[in-house]
């Protein structure tokens, strides 16, 4: 059994086959020397370099990704909609022409992106994983999607999710269940399971998800990829199907910290269509992604790291704990000053989150009335039209959360539940704020366990909610957080990934990404790929 308590380096045991990705090219083209340590490991930067030096064309690159996508899709089911090949290749061709004419390329030129299906795209269906929006095509692109397209990215399709973002396994989708690329009998996490699985299986380079209570970070941990949740207000929510408006953010998945960071930088910024979006300047956090050779011996010297005591107690897998402690040891080796931090209000976050999220969702989902858009079921009069359309369009988890929210907001109950939950939010926000005055970042596991079997938690809502306890407080406090892989535990045919979470101060994504990048470059965990595709990537 893998024990990270010994050393942060991965130990090659008989059960584990870890093959680093050498490069993305087909066997014909000349290999790019990505095993150097002068360049940071980043698919986006590697792609950019090989396009600009004309070692590969955007069309060849798109073809190789589409090939892999179609080959792995029957087993993974990570996409609800895949763009037709000719649409993708046409965009790639246009890019190749731009390169030939020496035109300026956007930062994500040639990069294939998957988009969670609760983010509106005008040229593709956007169902939010629900039957009530089956075949719905929004008349506009979400701001994040518009910015991606402007940067040269190619949207390859819409990924699967738990209906309306409500769930932690992607089993709540009305359409299909996505499998974890590391073990097809296990969940990829949720609600952005499709986006996480797609990046993990290299069906696309990066993807967008949404995070209301951990929906980007937990699937990132389960699928062994990097998940980045920005500060609330960093990225515009215009075009994100609202679940809980005070908690929702759009987040990024990548196979490396640099990729997630470059993607975040592209979609961040003030948007007049989102009144909660921040007017703060977005710093260029991409310039700090340097290769390992450029790092000093103790590159994180003086960084104060606080390990949250309450996240290592009861209910957390001992193997997860030992893996995360291994990550902490590695941070110490890099020069960090590590202490333990106590947040006594930590455990209140979970019930407060579910009260707030259910209540806000009961209000946000009242717009799905069978009249404005989406599917309609006729009734004798208006209330029954509403009743039947919603009853047939919504799945059971969504219905339950709407009913719980309706209860918590009812006259006479508002003070007991919703108002109290908001007061708990104040307490949690303040406790994180004071902890982050004494520490640069806080650490916890991303999830109390690794990916569990499909169907295991389906009938027990509280057991499923309990899995969110590491992540919800960050949404309540509106802070940024980064999840990256730190080790493996036994399971599946090649181990199951463990992710750890780094939490930063509000709008301090720059520091989080810097620490994450250095951690990752000095510990090659992220170059491991799931056995599903291990044989395909050749040099």
């Amino acid at each position: 059994m893998l024990s990270s308590a010994q050393a942060p380096r991965l130990v090659r045991s008989p059960g584990l086959r870890l093959r680093p990705i050498k490069c993305l090219h087909t066997a014909q083209s000349s290999p790019l020397a990505t095993t150097t340590t002068t360049a940071p490991s980043s698919q986006i930067l590697t792609i950019r370099k090989s396009l600009l030096t004309q070692q590969t064309t955007a069309v060849d690159l798109a073809k190789s990704f589409l090939d892999r996508l179609r080959r792995t899709e029957p087993q993974l089911n990570s996409f609800l909609y895949v763009s037709p090949d000719d649409a993708v290749l046409k965009q790639a061709e246009e890019l190749d022409n731009k390169i030939k004419n020496n035109e300026k390329l956007g930062p994500l030129a040639g990069v294939l992106v998957g988009i969670k299906d609760n983010i509106c795209t005008s040229d593709m269906p956007s169902t939010a994983g629900s039957r009530i929006l089956e075949n719905y095509r929004p008349p506009f692109d979400a701001t994040a999607v518009r910015k991606l397209k402007e940067s040269g990215a190619i949207v390859v399709g819409k990924t699967n999710l738990d209906e309306f973002g409500m769930g932690s396994t992607t089993e709540g989708s009305a359409y299909q269940v996505t499998a974890n690329p590391w073990d097809l009998s296990r969940v990829p996490g949720g609600s952005s399971g499709g986006s996480a699985a797609a990046v993990s299986a290299r069906q696309c380079v990066v993807s967008l998800g949404s995070d209301t209570g951990g929906s980007v970070r937990q699937p990132a941990a389960f699928c062994g990829v990097v998940g980045l949740k920005p500060t609330y207000g960093r990225v515009s929510r215009y075009g994100l199907v609202a679940y809980a408006s005070s908690l929702d953010v759009i987040g990024c998945f990548g196979s490396s910290v640099a990729d997630a960071g470059i993607l975040l930088h592209t979609i961040s910024g003030y948007d007049k269509f989102d009144s909660t979006s921040s007017k703060r300047e977005v710093p260029d956090f991409t310039s700090q992604f340097v290769g390992k050779d450029y790092l000093e011996s103790k590159p994180l010297k003086g960084l104060r790291v606080g390990v949250i005591r309450e996240t290592f107690g009861d209910g957390v897998d001992p193997e997860v704990i030992s893996s995360v402690r291994g990550a902490v040891t590695h941070l110490e080796e890099l020069g960090c000053f590590v202490t333990e931090v106590s947040l006594p209000s930590f455990s209140l976050g979970l019930p407060a989150y579910y009260v707030l999220a259910s209540s806000e969702s009961s209000s946000n989902l009242s717009r799905y009335d069978g009249i404005r858009y989406g599917n309609q079921v006729l009734g004798d009069e208006l209330n029954s039209l509403y009743g039947y359309s919603r009853a047939q369009g919504f799945g059971s988890e969504v219905k339950m959360r709407i009913l719980m929210g309706t209860y918590a907001l009812s006259a006479g109950y508002y003070d007991a539940y919703y108002k109290r939950a908001q007061q708990v939010r104040t307490i949690i926000r303040d406790s994180f704020k004071s902890a982050l005055e004494k520490n640069d970042i806080l650490i916890s596991p991303a999830s109390p366990s690794v990916a569990y079997k499909i169907g295991e938690k389906k009938d027990d809502p509280l057991a499923m909610y309990a899995g969110d306890k590491m992540t919800v407080n960050v949404n309540l406090a509106g802070l940024p957080a980064l999840v990256l892989p730190c080790g493996f535990v036994e399971g599946g045919s090649a181990g199951l990934p463990v992710g750890f979470q780094m939490i930063g101060a509000a709008f301090d994504e720059e520091k989080l990404l810097k620490v994450g990048h250095i951690f990752e470059q000095t510990l090659q965990v992220s170059s491991a790929v799931p056995p599903l595709i291990a044989g395909e990537l050749t040099c």
Partner: protein, 116 residues
């Protein structure tokens, strides 16, 4: 707001259902960890799923009401631990609010797609 008024009218009659406690022995770790005093919540009526469904305009089948009621009851009971926390003098936060005032000047703005 209209639904709250409607609920006030409907609440004139006493609740129709009363649920047996502890019909599901499968307690989660959360219940075990928090041996809090739930007495404060006993003055609140348990969730009446049929009535909530009418308020939320979702036509549930009787089978669904039967299926959801215990699960909803279980989760609402779990929410009850918020009653036991001392929250005197704590301001409720409508959102994380890391920004402060975000209101703009009260001046009219013309948009490109305006028909005026």
């Amino acid at each position: 707001m209209a639904s709250r008024a409607a609920l006030l009218v409907l609440r004139a009659t006493p609740p129709l259902f009363s649920f047996k406690k502890d019909i599901f022995p499968n307690k989660t770790l959360i219940f075990k960890q928090n041996n809090r005093n739930y007495a404060a919540k006993s003055c609140l009526e348990p969730p009446d799923v049929q009535r909530l469904a009418e308020t939320a305009r979702i036509s549930l089948t009787p089978h669904e009401v039967e299926e959801f009621a215990p699960k909803i009851r279980q989760v609402i009971d779990w929410f009850g631990q918020l009653q036991a926390v001392d929250l005197q003098n704590v301001e409720p936060a409508i959102r994380a609010d890391n920004e402060g005032e975000t209101l703009r000047e009260d001046l009219p703005e013309i948009f490109e797609n305006s028909n005026v």
